[in-house]
């Protein structure tokens, strides 16, 4: 069922796909930089970038230059990293939990982040020294730890882990609701809930740097375990009998995905569908073996998110549609096509 293996053979095919994805990503980021509410001529766009890189010194409108470099470029790059990261987490979790519906928030991360965020903003925990992002991050990790304990370490089987994740999500969502409804400032509560819907509006270059580091490290770790992940194809016992230290691998990979997801959620809120759908698309294109699947997820996730962000910015004039809405609107039809084809091919 792998499209690539049906049409092109082996490494040549994958190489072509890699080049194609990089090109597509570059084009998408270019589009993300060039498209926006402010009408900026392409030459200004181009020179804004070269100016800031120090290659040229063309005099430009200050606002245009700033919009291109400080907002659109950083935003497009962060979007691509978040898309890549979420898709990577989704793929890992779907393999480890042997569940095609697993996605990055299945371990309660998003719910925990919401609790952390409201604790900081509404309850004032941290007394102003802690930012909303740090609070969200701490909350996400707390939820993850809760899941780990509830699923009895990584010894718990896939089903038990999923149930623990459901329990954690329910618990932390309830905590968030409790804090929001008893504590008051309606404005603050609304702000936090809106933030949690997901948005790239607040990201600048510092977020890019953080995201780059975290995504690269996580990718390196996941690629290192790509073969081990293949061994999980037939379950934990099968992997163990093939010599994989199952418990250790699960701990490391769960922790890695948790950290990556927590970082992304604390930066841009929870953006759904990407982590669920992109791995399936990637599998459809390059097959289930992880040495190909993981890079494919990264590439497709990045392109998908950048394009979704562009759509969210231009589809309604003067407004930004929440990115989660766009990813769902695009994701669902895609998913349906995949499912339909998969049924037919079998």
């Amino acid at each position: 069922m792998s499209l690539v293996s049906r049409t092109l053979s082996g490494w040549a095919g994958l190489g072509l796909l890699a080049v194609l994805s990089l090109a597509l990503l570059a084009v998408s980021i270019g589009a993300g930089v060039g498209i926006g509410e402010l009408a900026i001529p392409p030459s200004t766009t181009f020179h804004a970038i070269t100016n800031r890189l120090g290659w040229t010194a063309v005099p430009l409108d200050k606002i245009h230059e700033s919009v291109i470099w400080d907002y659109r470029l950083s935003r497009a790059l962060v979007a691509s990293l978040c898309g890549a990261g979420l898709a990577l987490c989704g793929a890992i979790l779907q393999s480890l939990l042997r569940n095609p519906l697993a996605e990055p928030y299945v371990l309660g991360i998003s719910a925990g982040a919401s609790t952390g965020a409201v604790s900081v903003i509404v309850l004032g925990i941290g007394a102003g020294a802690v930012t909303l992002s740090s609070g969200a991050f701490a909350g996400a990790l707390a939820a993850f730890l809760f899941v780990v304990i509830l699923a009895s370490g990584a010894r718990g089987g896939a089903d038990r882990t999923i149930l623990a994740g459901v329990a954690a999500s329910q618990l932390f969502n309830a905590l968030t609701s409790y804090i929001v409804s008893t504590s008051a400032n309606a404005q603050q509560a609304r702000d936090v809930m809106f933030w949690l819907l997901g948005s790239f509006g607040g990201v600048r270059w510092p977020e890019f740097q953080l995201a780059l580091v975290v995504v690269l490290i996580a990718l390196a770790i996941c690629l290192f375990y790509a073969r081990a992940l293949d061994a999980f194809t037939f379950g934990d016992d099968a992997a163990s009998s093939l010599g994989i230290p199952v418990v250790r691998v699960r701990i490391i990979l769960f922790a890695t995905t948790a950290m990556l997801t927590a970082t992304i959620v604390s930066m841009v809120g929870s953006i759904g569908f990407v982590g669920l759908v992109v791995p399936h698309v990637a599998r459809f294109l390059v097959g289930p073996l992880h040495l190909r699947l993981l890079p494919a997820c990264v590439g497709i996730g990045a392109i998908f998110m950048v394009l979704a962000d562009i759509v969210s910015r231009i589809i309604i004039p003067q407004q930004v549609l929440p990115i989660g809405v766009v990813t769902a609107l695009i994701g669902v039809p895609f998913f349906s096509v995949i499912l339909y084809r998969a049924r037919r091919a079998v």
Partner: protein
């Protein structure tokens, strides 16, 4: 005088004004602004070399203050309007470009090439805003101004627990009017506006001074449905202020700004007057006063509370329940109705 001293002087004068309640204009610092003007706003120093000509108002309250100060020809655009503009400002508002009634995008704001941005709320301008932070505008040499009411560093604002420990009052609004007036070099108009608000405040207090009793109020903002808990104005918020102004108190004792209370709780509070909000938006059926009244008079339990039985149901603009300039308008709306109820002589 050195610039910081000018700022200090003007603040001192404003404080003096506020302390001397009941006094009008008099020795107010209403002279022309001396530029460059430096102000400290929410812990950030902002400097103006001249009066802004293309200001951006993010938030209805900030926009309405500017319009009240007659600055419509110097406002390049406004955004975020939860309700309709004050009728008296409608004509002036027509001349100002409306970006959107929702939260605008940064690019839309920058497209107007503003030279000054004033924001009402932190989600419009702040560290967690999806539009921009103050640094973003500072990097483009655009001074930004946050309503003093939402500064995290101010003492008079909702404390860290998201509730108000002490009753809100108009002081922060007066500070905002005064500072904005200075920025635009219309201090005299600013002082006039402040004085007029103070006079109105005083007039209401005087009006109710003759009456006895300490009426209790419940301010009902809206509910998703009659069965749901109602969104009320909290004890120390703008609603509490209105109640105090009218010589009474808010029957709700929780300090949360927007508590949700069940009808059982409202019945138990047994207020003297039930104030129902009139909202411009159309989210819930109960947004409109007619629907609220219908529920109040038809529900078997609620219709038995004193306020409903005695017909002490007053209608007020919902926007007044937000701590803005509309609050005083809301209080005025209620005075006549209270006279009608015989609660004010």
């Amino acid at each position: 005088m050195p610039h910081s001293a000018v700022a200090r002087w003007s603040r001192l004068a404003a404080t003096g004004l506020i302390l001397a309640s009941g006094l009008t204009a008099g020795a107010a610092f209403a002279g022309p602004t001396s530029y460059p003007l430096t102000l400290s706003n929410c812990g950030v120093d902002i400097t103006f070399s001249k009066a802004p000509e293309r200001a951006m108002a993010l938030g209805q309250n900030s926009a309405e203050i500017m319009l009240l100060l007659g600055l419509e020809d110097r406002v390049a655009g406004t955004a975020f309007w939860p309700s309709k503009v004050l009728p008296e400002l409608a004509a002036a508002n027509e001349e100002v470009k409306l970006l959107t009634v929702e939260i605008p995008t940064l690019e839309a704001v920058l497209a107007e090439r503003p030279d000054f941005v004033a924001a009402q709320l932190l989600n419009l301008l702040g560290p967690n805003s999806t539009i921009a932070t103050r640094e973003d505008f500072a990097n483009l040499d655009i001074p930004s101004y946050l309503s003093p009411g939402v500064c995290a560093t101010s003492d008079n604002v909702a404390d860290v627990h998201g509730s108000r420990a002490s009753l809100w009052n108009m002081d922060l609004l007066y500070q905002e009017i005064d500072e904005l007036a200075q920025i635009f070099d219309v201090s005299d108009r600013g002082q006039e506006l402040i004085a007029s608000f103070k006079a109105r405040e005083a007039a209401i207090r005087e009006r109710v001074a003759g009456s006895d009793g300490d009426p209790s109020f419940v301010f009902w903002f809206s509910s998703p449905s009659p069965a749901d808990d109602a969104y009320l104005g909290g004890k120390n918020g703008a609603s509490g202020f209105i109640a105090d102004l009218l010589g009474g108190h808010n029957a709700i004792t929780t300090e949360a700004e927007w508590p949700t209370v069940s009808w059982e709780g409202i019945v138990a509070a047994n207020p003297t007057v039930l104030v129902i909000a009139d909202l411009d938006r159309n989210r819930w059926d109960l947004d409109k006063p007619a629907a609220k009244k219908a529920f109040l008079t038809s529900d078997p339990v609620v219709s038995q509370i004193d306020a409903v039985k005695n017909g002490h149901i007053a209608v007020m603009d919902g926007q007044a329940m937000n701590p803005t300039i509309r609050t005083i308008y809301g209080a005025e709306q209620l005075v006549d109705q209270l006279v009608g109820f015989g609660l004010i002589k």
